[in-house]
Structures are given as structure tokens and as C-alpha cells.
């Protein structure tokens, strides 16, 4: 350009100067380009360095994070073991249920999700937020169990506005018999925080379902099975892409109980709306045939998670439906205790069976007269008559003669004052009072007058129905005690093999055979000619003992005038057949008064049913007479035993 300009004429000089300047400016600009080149290359090098850092130096960590991003592990809950009665009747199974879960990891905006859930399904906004707030960032939270078909359809059709929400088909524990046998079967529920830390519950996780009560609780480890796990790939919205790996859960073992559910249902129906307990055991093995407690609860409802208000109502129900009266109810044994007393009299040689004691209708001791239930007295009685007629004065006298320590010693030999060890949680031990006990607990010496009350099963003495069942069973077996048990066999799901549950060791009471011969003769007389004549059966010879446990020391006027909660508890303990016993039974009816009238007929019906079931005797006309239940008022008799 410079040259072009110089070839031209002078008039171009100004342009030439301008052009000259431009040329030098271009040279300037082009000279500075080096800086720009270096700058760009430096920036690219810097980016390259950063990429080396991300991909090479930390690449492995980021790969792990990518894996973490896309994989979710889902617990696969095992099917819980099934429960059967001794005949193979199903007592507990599992039905499929659709549960709603939220995987918090996939929820970016909790408020929005909660809003959406509240809008679509009937959730409480605040409750839902509270449920989430306590959880870890990666937790999977079950927010609703047992979805209805409609609810499931709503969730599925809103998948894209409900990130992280998914439906998991799981098992729901079901008890096909409804409320029957609920105390012994128990119920299940989600494991508590506290239990998760215990040794017994190792390997479980939050949300695991475990047995909370009854056999479900005692045999939980066998029943629960082993959880499985599924590894899933999910996309950024938490939607499942594919399954990577599955470890199948293994189902729990099945239990075969010793219970005869036919007898169990019959016993519960006979108790009806009344509070009470029935225990029957096979004295030859300790196998429990009936373990009925009323009032009761619905284990299926409890297992699916009751709303807090209903749970509170159940807990505070004045009739205590959650209490298993057979092992937790502690009652004065009343006259049923005379069986133990009879063993103590003969065993300690306080008196001979043939020794006669005179009963004038009362026993004067110190300044007080202890009355017999029969105003006019029984006259001169020996042991068998005293048992048959339930003569109080006879036992006042022998009790006073042998003293509280002997009574306590024999009571304990029969297993009173201690748990029977039945395979159920929360058994109570009852109370056998003694001098040492009173000193320790009350800080007072034992008064001889208190011995007299204990002699007829009143005072401080308390027992549970299962303990009394063990006493009768031991008597029926001439002193051999088989601890009660509920589970006969376990079928392992892994192998399909049935394994018998080993019998707990039996023990022999250190009381001679002759003593039991005498007592059993007395107990047979109770039914043939004594206080339990109403329970005499044409089908089988029954031996038993009635009892009436005083609730308050109040005895004036006819029983109907006494408020129900102050009325006596009715006891009847029995075994049958008298000569070769196959069943020992205890009936306790709370506030039903006389054992002979309120409790004995129930026991008779159950015994007859048992005999029919085990010997295939057809139900004939002779058995139809006693088909009443406790719901009818039996308090026709106002006299004591």
C-alpha cells in the first residue's frame, strides 16, 4: 500500500499518510496477537489440568459417586413362618399388601412432595413432614401400609409428580381366626429403635416386622426368616430402570402348636363377654391344649399398625383386653388351694388321711372367729370329705397346726410363686407368702392368723391360672410335673423337615404316691358327691376342685346385690378321665361367684369335647344338656361352698 501511494501524485499525500498510519497500526495489532495466542493456550492448558484432576486423579471417586447415584438397594422382606394348631389348622399366615414408601434420596423438594401427597391421598401435611424430618438423608420411609386399589392407581398415575415415591408389595400378617387365641398367638409390628440394638435382633433394619407378643414374640427368630436385598438401577427421577442383583429372602419356619383350636374356640365362646381364663394341658406331656383369655383383641388389626388413638384406648381399657389372664392374671386360688394343702398335710404328717376334725361352722383363733362357708358346719370330717365338701374349718385347723413355712414349702414344690416357664413373654409368678417374705416386703412379722387365711387360699396368696393347671396336672400324674409348652414342632422352610421341639425336663415332686392316691380320691368325690356335682359327666369320670376367690371381705346379703366388680372370682380345676388323665383344666371366671356353678359346667363341657375329639365318640344326646355359656347369669346360688 505504501508503494502504491508513493507512485501516485501529491494530492494523494493525505491519504498516503492515513494509509501509512493504518499500516503501522495493523502491524501493531498483529504484533499483539502473540499475547492473545499465549493467553488462549494458557487457558486451554488450565482447563486440561483441571480435567486431568477430575478424570485421572479423582476419576475413581467420581465413578463411585456415579454408581451411588444410580443404584438403590431395596430390602426384600421374607414371608413370616406360618402357625398351625395340633391338627394342622392354620392360625396365622401372610397376605400380600401394597405399602407406600418414599426414598428420601430421590426427593429433591420435600415440601413439594408432601404437598402433592397431601393433595392426592389423605395424608396430614404436618404428620408427613414430621415422619420425614427424623430420617437420614438416604432413608427409605414407609408412609402408608395396605394401600387400596384406588390409592395404588392414584400413585401410579402420578409417578412423575411423585419422585422417590414407590409401591412395594409386601406381606401383611393375617390371623384367619379373627380374635380367637390372640393372646397366645400374639401379634407382630415394626421393630422399635431400642430393640434394633439388641443382640437378638441383629441383622434387622428399621421397618423390619417382628413378633411383639405371644408365640410370635417368643419364636420370632424362627418365624421371621432372613431378609433379601435387591440392587436396582434408577434414573435421576428415582424411577426404576433395571434390577442388577437379587438376593432372595428366605421365609421363616412354620410352627405347629400344641393347641387344639377347636377346644380353644369353644372355651373362648363359653367365656363369652365375661372376663376370665381357661387353661387346659395334657398332664402327660405339658402340651397346652387351651390357653384362653377374655376379653380379647384383634391381632390382625394390631399387626397392621393401629392409629395412636385406638392403641391408647386399647392400652387404657379398664377391662385390660391386652392382658393374657392365663399367665399374667394373679388371683387368690381360693379353695382350689386345698389340693396343695392336702398334699402338705399328708406329706408333712401333720395329720393322717383318716384323722377326723370337727367342724362346727367356724374356727375361733385369738379374738377372731374364722367362719366356714357352711353356717351349720360339716360336723366331723376327714381329709376326703373335707376336700369333697370344701370344709374350711378342717384346713384352718391343719394349716394352723403345720404353720406358714410348711405351707409355703409345699406350694413352691408345686411350682407356685414362680413362673412355669411357658414359652410366652411376660409371664407373672404369683405370690407364695412366708415369714421371710413378709419381713422383707412389709417389714412386719408374720401373724399366725394370716396362716389361717392362707390355708383356704386367701390372704396374700396369689396364683396364675397356668400355675393352677400345673398343680392339677401334677396331681393327676401322681406328682410328675411336665412344664407347660405351646410349640410341638417346627418345620424348617429351608429343608422342609419337621423337627420336634424337645420336651423340657420333667420332675417328680418329693411327695409319696400314697398321698396323691388320697388326694385324687378326694377330688373325685368333689364331683361325685361334693361341691362340683353339676359337672358330673355321663361320658367321663372327672376329678376336680371348686374354688371361690374373695375379691373383698364382704359377705352379707344375696350376691345379686353386690356390685359386679366386688363379686368373687369362680375357680374350677379338674382333670379327666379320673383314673387315666389325658387333660387337666382350669377355668377362672372373674366376678362370677361360685366356682361350682359358674366355672365347673364350662370345664365339664370342654372335658367332654376333648374326650370326644380324642376317642371319636359321637356327640350324643347325653351331652347336649350343658350347652350354656357364662353370658347367662349363673349367680342363682348365693351360698358359699
Amino acid at each position: 500500500m505504501y508503494r502504491v501511494a508513493t507512485d501516485r501524485k501529491g494530492t494523494d499525500l493525505v491519504f498516503m499518510l492515513e494509509s501509512d498510519r493504518q499500516a503501522s497500526e495493523l502491524a501493531d495489532i498483529q504484533g499483539r496477537l502473540v499475547l492473545l495466542k499465549v493467553g488462549i493456550l494458557l487457558l486451554i492448558a488450565l482447563l486440561g489440568l483441571r480435567l486431568w484432576q477430575l478424570q485421572i486423579r479423582d476419576g475413581h471417586d467420581y465413578q463411585e459417586m456415579a454408581k451411588d447415584n444410580r443404584t438403590r438397594s431395596i430390602m426384600l422382606e421374607p414371608a413370616r413362618g406360618l402357625l398351625y394348631d395340633r391338627q394342622g389348622q392354620l392360625l396365622a399366615n401372610n397376605i400380600p399388601s401394597f405399602n407406600l414408601y418414599v426414598s428420601l434420596e430421590d426427593v429433591k423438594d420435600r415440601e413439594a412432595l408432601v404437598g402433592e401427597l397431601t393433595r392426592l391421598l389423605s395424608f396430614s401435611h404436618k404428620n408427613l413432614l414430621d415422619t420425614f424430618s427424623g430420617q437420614s438423608r438416604k432413608a427409605r420411609v414407609k408412609i402408608k401400609g395396605g394401600l387400596s386399589l384406588k390409592e395404588a392407581a392414584i400413585v401410579e398415575s402420578h409417578r412423575y409428580t411423585l419422585p422417590g415415591v414407590f409401591i412395594q408389595p409386601e406381606y401383611q400378617r393375617n390371623y384367619p381366626l379373627g380374635v380367637y387365641a390372640s393372646h397366645l398367638i400374639g401379634y407382630v409390628g415394626e421393630i422399635s429403635e431400642a430393640k434394633l440394638k439388641e443382640e437378638e435382633y441383629q441383622g434387622l433394619h428399621q421397618g423390619s416386622v417382628v413378633g411383639q407378643y405371644g408365640v410370635e414374640r417368643t419364636y420370632d427368630q424362627a418365624l421371621r426368616g432372613v431378609s433379601g436385598q435387591e440392587l436396582l438401577e434408577v434414573d435421576a427421577h428415582g424411577h426404576r430402570k433395571q434390577s442388577i442383583a437379587v438376593h432372595k429372602p428366605s421365609a421363616g419356619d412354620d410352627l405347629y402348636l400344641t393347641i387344639d383350636i377347636r377346644l380353644q374356640q369353644m372355651a373362648e365362646d363359653l367365656l363369652g363377654e365375661e372376663a376370665g381364663a381357661v387353661v387346659a394341658i395334657d398332664p402327660r406331656s405339658g402340651a397346652v391344649l387351651i390357653l384362653a383369655s377374655r376379653p380379647t383383641f384383634d391381632p390382625t388389626a394390631l399387626s397392621s399398625g393401629l392409629p395412636m388413638s385406638e392403641w391408647q384406648a386399647l392400652l387404657h381399657d379398664p377391662r385390660h383386653p391386652l392382658t393374657n389372664r392365663t399367665i399374667q392374671g394373679q388371683y387368690p386360688p381360693g379353695s382350689t388351694f386345698k389340693i396343695v394343702m392336702a398334699a402338705a398335710v399328708l406329706g408333712s404328717q401333720t395329720a393322717q388321711a383318716a384323722d377326723h376334725f370337727f367342724c362346727p361352722g367356724g374356727f375361733k383363733f385369738g379374738r377372731r372367729t374364722y367362719r366356714d362357708w357352711k353356717r351349720g358346719g360339716h360336723g366331723s370330717v376327714e381329709l376326703i370329705a373335707a376336700l369333697a365338701q370344701s370344709c374350711d374349718v378342717y384346713f384352718y385347723k391343719v394349716g394352723n397346726r403345720m404353720g406358714i413355712e410348711t405351707i409355703a414349702s409345699y406350694s413352691k414344690q408345686f411350682g407356685l410363686g414362680q413362673k412355669t416357664g411357658i414359652d410366652l413373654p411376660s409371664e407373672r409368678s404369683g405370690l407364695v407368702p412366708s415369714g421371710a417374705w413378709k419381713k422383707r416386703v412389709k417389714g412386719e412379722p408374720w401373724y399366725p392368723g394370716e396362716t389361717i387365711s392362707v390355708s383356704i387360699g386367701q390372704g396374700f396368696m396369689t396364683v396364675t391360672p397356668i400355675q393352677m393347671a400345673q398343680v392339677v396336672a401334677a396331681t393327676a400324674m401322681n406328682g410328675r410335673v411336665f412344664p407347660p409348652r405351646l410349640v410341638r414342632a417346627i418345620r424348617k422352610r429351608g429343608t422342609g423337615k419337621m423337627e420336634d421341639v424337645p420336651l423340657p425336663p420333667s420332675r417328680q415332686l418329693p411327695i409319696s404316691h400314697e398321698v396323691f392316691v388320697q388326694i385324687r380320691e378326694g377330688l373325685e368325690a368333689v364331683v361325685t358327691k361334693g361341691t362340683a356335682r353339676r359337672s358330673q359327666s355321663s361320658l367321663v369320670a372327672i376329678a376336680g376342685k371348686t374354688g371361690t376367690a374373695q375379691v373383698v371381705a364382704l359377705r352379707s346379703g344375696p350376691a345379686k346385690d353386690i356390685p359386679k366388680e366386688f363379686r368373687d372370682h369362680a375357680w374350677f380345676v379338674a382333670y379327666a378321665p379320673a383314673k387315666n388323665p389325658t387333660i387337666a383344666i382350669v377355668v377362672l371366671a372373674e366376678h362370677m361367684g361360685h366356682g361350682g356353678s359358674a366355672a365347673a359346667p364350662l370345664a365339664k363341657q370342654l372335658i367332654e369335647a376333648h374326650i370326644r375329639f380324642t376317642t371319636d365318640i359321637p356327640e350324643d344326646s347325653a351331652q347336649k344338656q350343658g350347652g350354656q355359656s357364662l353370658s347367662h347369669d349363673h349367680l342363682a346360688i348365693s351360698t358359699h361352698e
Partner: protein, 367 residues
């Protein structure tokens, strides 16, 4: 004047550009769902934009840039009008108003106006000798300012910064008298993405969010650095050799947001690893060096400044976009030139490259 045929340099230039475009379409292809619910898959759309861009390339390469420069201010004026139209009648998307709907399509004036800006500034500096800081700094500043403000108003922080960067680089190339000023601006520009990170990091989270959501409501929807993290995970998990096409879980399972637009580099880095990344960086680097080579051999100031403007525009988008995806700069929403999906940006970038070739092909003229 115009030499027939292409020389080795040209073929090399075409090769690099086509290489980057191909890699871009491949990455977009791998993000495309297997069975798109409706319409044409986006990788095909992008291919279409590339074809249209090729036509624009031929046009801007063919017509002598001196002739084009005569219309520089008119082009720029039209661009400003379009920016006003966007503000008045534009289409809103995720809180900002950037597009003018045109039938089934939409044009993005903030992208298209970048070439008129380069042309206008180059024409301003190239046609007459500008002396003193008033003529060199302030007057061109007045040219830039309305466009810058209109884009910022949309709001589109990324594009407005890109707009500004063109002005700054051209200004520095022409040179201002005060060396100190030049040094300050240059340093600031060089350190911009990184310094921002440092200053930015010292602010509280809510302050950052407040500022960013003011400037760019598009910033990190979903919140709390999720996008940046997912991008880094995608890139990092590519490791040395990458996961292969369709092999990246970050991309395939949609953990990576905007895989076809702003984060297309992360898709590429996940699938092709550090090796692929090095090749890609080399291609871009080569492209920039070739562009600056054209500038250094330009016949006149106008040509040189046009070339510098084009290179600085593309380089700015490249550096800031990658700095953003690797976590060195805040996520401001700048597409990766030649790779990110987008009609206006692709056509505009290719037209700018045509301008670059235009300058090159007219350097060896005899008088």
C-alpha cells in the same frame, strides 16, 4: 482477486470445524431418548442447523468482507431492533425472555447480533485511524452498551458477558494508550472465570442465590449446586478412556441436566474420557490458532479485527462453558460453540467462521 480452490490450510480448517461439529452431534445423539415421544430427534435437528449454518458459511466467506463491512452498522441496528422485539414480544422460557417465535421455530437475537457487533467494531476501528482514549475506548463503548444492556435485561448473563468480551478483546488488540489500563483489563479477563470462583466462594449461599437469581433466573433450577456436581461426576467418571457411546450412566439416567445444550461437554467427557477430551481441546486450540494466524496475515486492520473478534467470541464461549462444567466457574448458561444444541448459535458461529475464511482468502491480493 479470489484464488480458486483451497489450499492445505483451508482443508485443515474445514477438518477441525467438521470434527468438532461431528463430535457435538454424536454427543447430542447419545442424550436423545431411544424413542422420542414426538417430533424430529434433536440430533437430526442439530444436523439441520449445521446444514443451514454451512450455507451461511458459504455466504459470509464468499462476499468480500469490505463489501459486507459497508452494512455493518445497519446489521447491528437491525440486531438491536430484534433485541427490543424480544423484550416486547419474546417468548418466555424458565424465567427469561430470549426467543422470538417464528412459526415452529424461534430465533435468539442475542446470539445472532454477535456477528454484527464484531463487524461494527471492526469497521469502526478499521475504516479510520482512531486516536486517543475517547475515540478508542468511549465511542465504541457507546456502540456496545445498548446491546449489552438489552441482553442483560432478558436476562441472559452468559450472552451479555460474551458480548462484552468481544469489545474488550478488540479494544486491547487496537491498544489503548494507557498500558496500565490494558494490563488491568487483560489480567481481569484472563483470570475472570477463576477469580470469580474465588470471590464468589466467599459469599454466603443465600447471597449468591440472590444475585444469581436476579441476573439469571435459569441458574441451577432444582437448587444447591446439583447441576454442577452432576456435571463433575459425569466428567470424572469418564476417567481415562471413557464409558463409550451410550455407556455413561450420568447421561443415560438423566442425572446430568441439559446434556444436549450447556452440559454437552460433560456428556462427551463421560463417554470418551480424558483421551477424548485432550483430542477435543487440541481441536479447539488448533481452530483458535488458525483463526489468529489469519488475523496476523490479514491485509488490513478491518480484516485483522474481524478475525480477532470471531476467535475471541468463540474462545470465550469455549473457555467459560468448559470452566463452568468442570466447576471452575459458576453456572451462567453459556453454550459450547459448535457443540451445544441450538439453531441460532450454530448458524451464527458457522457464519462467523465463514467471515474468518473470508479474511484469509483475501490476504494475498496484488495491487
Amino acid at each position: 482477486m479470489l484464488r480458486r480452490g483451497f489450499d492445505g490450510f483451508d482443508w485443515c480448517f474445514f477438518g477441525v470445524v467438521l470434527g468438532i461439529l461431528g463430535v457435538g452431534i454424536l454427543s447430542i445423539y447419545s442424550v436423545t431418548p431411544a424413542n422420542p415421544s414426538q417430533g424430529i430427534p434433536i440430533y437430526l435437528k442439530q444436523s439441520m442447523w449445521v446444514c443451514i449454518g454451512a450455507l451461511a458459511f458459504i455466504a459470509t466467506a464468499g462476499i468480500d468482507y469490505h463489501k459486507l463491512a459497508r452494512f455493518s452498522y445497519i446489521f447491528y441496528g437491525i440486531g438491536l431492533v430484534l433485541l427490543v422485539v424480544v423484550l416486547v414480544a419474546g417468548k418466555s422460557s424458565r424465567g427469561s425472555q430470549r426467543w422470538i417465535p417464528l412459526g415452529p421455530l424461534a430465533i435468539q437475537p442475542s446470539e445472532l447480533i454477535k456477528i454484527p457487533l464484531i463487524m461494527a467494531l471492526a469497521t469502526y476501528y478499521g475504516m479510520k485511524h482512531r486516536i486517543g482514549w475517547l475515540q478508542r475506548l468511549v465511542f465504541p463503548g457507546i456502540i456496545v452498551l445498548p446491546g449489552f444492556l438489552l441482553i442483560l435485561k432478558q436476562p441472559d448473563l452468559g450472552s451479555s458477558l460474551s458480548f462484552l468480551s468481544i469489545y474488550v478483546v478488540l479494544l486491547l488488540s487496537v491498544g489503548v494508550k494507557s498500558r496500565a489500563f490494558g494490563l488491568v483489563v487483560l489480567t481481569a479477563l484472563l483470570l475472570f472465570p477463576f477469580a470469580w470462583g474465588g470471590v464468589w466462594g466467599s459469599l454466603h449461599g443465600y447471597q449468591q442465590e440472590r444475585i444469581l437469581s436476579f441476573v439469571d433466573p435459569n441458574y441451577d433450577p432444582g437448587g444447591k449446586g446439583y447441576h454442577g456436581l452432576q456435571s463433575r461426576i459425569a466428567i470424572g467418571s469418564g476417567q481415562l478412556v471413557g464409558t463409550g457411546l451410550y455407556g455413561g450412566t450420568q447421561t443415560q439416567f438423566k442425572f446430568l441436566p441439559e446434556g444436549h445444550t450447556d452440559f454437552v461437554f460433560a456428556v462427551f467427557a463421560e463417554e470418551w474420557g480424558f483421551l477424548g477430551v485432550v483430542v477435543l481441546l487440541a481441536m479447539y486450540g488448533g481452530l483458535f490458532l488458525m483463526g489468529l494466524e489469519i488475523a496476523s496475515k490479514a491485509r488490513d486492520t478491518l480484516g485483522a479485527l474481524l478475525a480477532i473478534g470471531v476467535v475471541s467470541m468463540i474462545a470465550f464461549g469455549f473457555v467459560v462453558n468448559i470452566a463452568m462444567t468442570v466447576g471452575l466457574a459458576p453456572i451462567v448458561g453459556i453454550p459450547l460453540p459448535l457443540m451445544s444444541y441450538g439453531g441460532s448459535a450454530t448458524i451464527m458461529t458457522l457464519a462467523a467462521l465463514g467471515l474468518l475464511l473470508n479474511v484469509k482468502r483475501r490476504r494475498l491480493t496484488l495491487s
